[in-house]
């Protein structure tokens, strides 16, 4: 780059000093600092910590399963889908030394089922959440920025999605198609993304659009895409991230409902555990509590955990909610 002609005089900075640390390293450092600051803020909120604790608990569960399967547990007996304990004649059995949460009517170990399913619940949640974030942020940013027909179209679509009962859609879909977990993840992600989340993100994008620094970016010569990508979306991401949490809750819960009705093509899940209890006639048999409670408790707790984390994040994203 040619030496500037108007800002004259000897260079005011030491070249070597300024270029000492490469920019990427500085940015990484800044991101790390930001993360730590946010983590500290998050840690002040007991709600968030409880939620995080529960999530970690289930995450450990998911990770522990393959370890247990390859070490302590015998594959034939403890496989969550095909296992059967032939040593005991009558199933389901109550919790015992060998089966900590008992067995289900088909002779399978409940604890093993619980732990194995945790993994798919997480996968489901993460995929659905990511899909939602991408869609909601894009739709929200574009609607707010360009307005007009595009905006109207997206907003009417969102209204439509909000109006339609979600579970009904799922049931119809599963009647028409063979719905697997990954497909469910996408359906939840897409409907969440184009639905309520898009509207909220759009209204946030609208407040950003009129900020002075956007005008400044325009005067600097920024094109529409530059402004959307470098100014609007980065300021939307905290809010999108927040909505992610609520999407996970929806995803896990929808899976439970679909599985309960036997409409989901999945080998094992918490919802399927309850379904098994139902079609074998033990649903109302409270004496055999281990057939329902571990599974339903897990669903509730994991959903609640993500919701709590979402609420805690809300207080970070929305400083006005913070207690001084």
């Amino acid at each position: 780059m040619a030496q500037s002609t108007r800002i004259g005089g000897a260079p005011r900075v030491d070249r070597a000093e300024v270029l000492a640390i490469p920019v990427w390293r500085i940015r990484l450092n800044l991101m790390w600092r930001g993360l730590r600051a946010n983590a500290a803020l998050f840690a002040e909120n007991p709600i968030g910590l409880v939620g995080l604790g529960i999530i970690l608990f289930f995450a450990l569960m998911a990770l522990a399963h393959p370890i247990l399967m390859s070490t302590v547990w015998d594959k034939g007996t403890y496989d969550p889908v095909l296992g059967i304990d032939l040593a005991i004649p009558l199933h389901p059995t109550a919790p015992s030394a060998t089966h900590l949460l008992g067995t289900d009517p088909l002779g399978r170990d409940i604890l093993s089922q619980l732990m194995w399913s945790a993994r798919s619940e997480f996968a489901l949640g993460v995929v659905a959440a990511l899909v939602t974030v991408v869609i909601a942020t894009t739709v929200g940013a574009i609607s707010a920025f360009y307005g007009g027909l595009l905006d109207t179209a997206f907003m009417r679509l969102a209204d439509l999605i909000i109006m339609t009962p979600f579970v009904t859609i799922l049931i119809v879909l599963s009647a028409l198609f063979d719905v697997k977990l990954i497909e469910l993840a996408f359906v939840v992600g897409i409907t969440s993304g184009f639905g309520g989340a898009a509207i909220i993100i759009k209204s946030q994008a609208l407040t950003i659009k009129v900020r002075t620094y956007i005008e400044a970016a325009r005067v600097a010569g920024g094109s529409n895409s530059h402004i959307i990508l470098r100014h609007i979306i980065p300021n939307l991401l905290p809010l999108s991230f927040l909505y992610m949490m609520f999407t996970v809750t929806t995803a896990i819960f929808s899976e439970a409902v679909l599985s309960f009705f036997g409409l989901l093509n999945i080998r094992m899940s918490w919802g399927l555990m309850i379904h098994t209890t139902e079609y074998t006639g033990y649903l109302l048999d409270l004496g055999k509590w281990w057939l329902i409670f571990p599974a339903s408790l897990s669903i509730t707790m994991l959903c609640a955990a993500f919701y709590l984390v979402g609420r805690a994040l809300d207080e970070i994203v929305n400083p006005r909610l913070r207690r001084r």
Partner: protein, 329 residues
């Protein structure tokens, strides 16, 4: 005018339609800027002064092409010839943005809170595709020293919330100047700063103006600050320029009744001087569908029938570049 002007504004007009019911069918417009004509010579600093609703901020936005005029022309001498900036397209607009920049009023709002000082100041370079990362880093650091944020290294990667108002405004100034523009519009850059910080910024802008040969349009409501920053003054009222000329000339010898009222309303930081009340009637109106008479008629203390029977008076030269829009002067 000895020098060939850098900026020529002719009959500039900006109308904003008022939201109107679907059934009424009538259209109303806010005449934010209404047939404004003036020019700015190279190296000059013109202060644009007025109260709220005068159109000064809108004029500033028109000059940096944040919005386009509904009438009239803005011609700027960019790379030789005068170009009508309303008709620029694509690449030409980008080139325009290298020549014309803006410093905004609110140092807390004009910087993206998520971007570092480096990113903010380097943005014009990035968008214009100037230089590589290292070149930009050096150039930004150099500019930080120039605007008094020293040592540059410590400020380079700070975030806006780590800076004070005065420091943020220095960053905003650096951002405006990094592309070495020929013309800068400063929209009340000191009004939101503390007094003791304000003078520092004002001095910085003066210093840079001289050093970099930048032409300024300084928009403000504060006449005292305008006096300090500029050598020429234009007074606006309800979208029109009512008086324009050399700063000291206008301050000591105002001709238009509005200018006189404005000057007499400014509080004086001297308890021994007692100001007389400004000679002006009524209260300020919104420039919605104004009558085709002198715009100042409603409030003018010396109005005559001639003022209500003709269109708004044109600017007339009273000597030494001092122009007034009044039938009675």
């Amino acid at each position: 005018m000895a020098k060939d002007p850098l900026v020529i504004v002719e009959g500039l007009q900006k109308l904003f339609p008022l939201a109107v019911g679907i059934l009424s069918g009538e259209k109303h417009y806010i005449h934010a800027v209404d047939e404004v004509t003036f020019s700015i010579a190279e190296g000059e600093s013109l202060a644009l002064v007025g109260e709220s609703g005068s159109g000064k901020t809108t004029t500033g936005k028109l000059l940096v092409k944040l919005t386009d005029p509904t009438g009239g022309h803005i011609k700027m001498r960019l790379n030789g010839d005068h170009v009508d900036i309303a008709h620029l397209k694509g690449k030409e607009t980008k080139r325009f943005r290298r020549q014309v920049q803006m410093i905004f009023q609110d140092p807390y709002e004009s910087l993206n809170p998520r971007r570092t000082v480096f990113d903010t100041i380097a943005e014009p370079l990035v968008v214009q595709g100037v230089g590589e990362l290292q070149d930009r880093e050096l150039r930004v650091a150099d500019l930080l020293e120039l605007v008094g944020l020293s040592p540059a290294k410590t400020f380079l990667f700070r975030f806006p919330h780590e800076l004070s108002g005065g420091q943020r405004q220095r960053v905003a100034i650096a951002r405006a100047l990094i592309v070495e523009p020929a013309f800068v519009v400063a929209d009340e850059p000191t009004s939101m700063l503390d007094v003791s910080i304000r003078t520092g910024i004002m001095q910085l802008m003066q210093d840079l103006a001289a050093r970099l040969d930048v032409t300024y349009l300084y928009i403000t409501h504060d006449l005292a600050v305008a006096r300090y920053m500029s050598n020429r003054l234009a007074v606006m009222y309800l979208g029109k320029i009512v008086e324009i000329g050399e700063m000291e000339d206008l301050l000591h010898n105002p001709l238009h009744p509005y200018t006189k009222a404005l000057l007499s309303a400014v509080p004086v930081p001297d308890p021994t001087i007692h100001r007389t009340a400004p000679n002006i009637l009524g209260s300020i109106a919104k420039p919605i569908d104004p009558e085709p008479i002198c715009r100042f008629y409603e409030r003018c203390p010396i109005r005559e029938s001639i003022c209500a029977e003709n269109l708004h008076p044109p600017l007339e030269d009273k000597g030494a570049g001092h122009r007034v829009a009044c039938y009675l002067v």
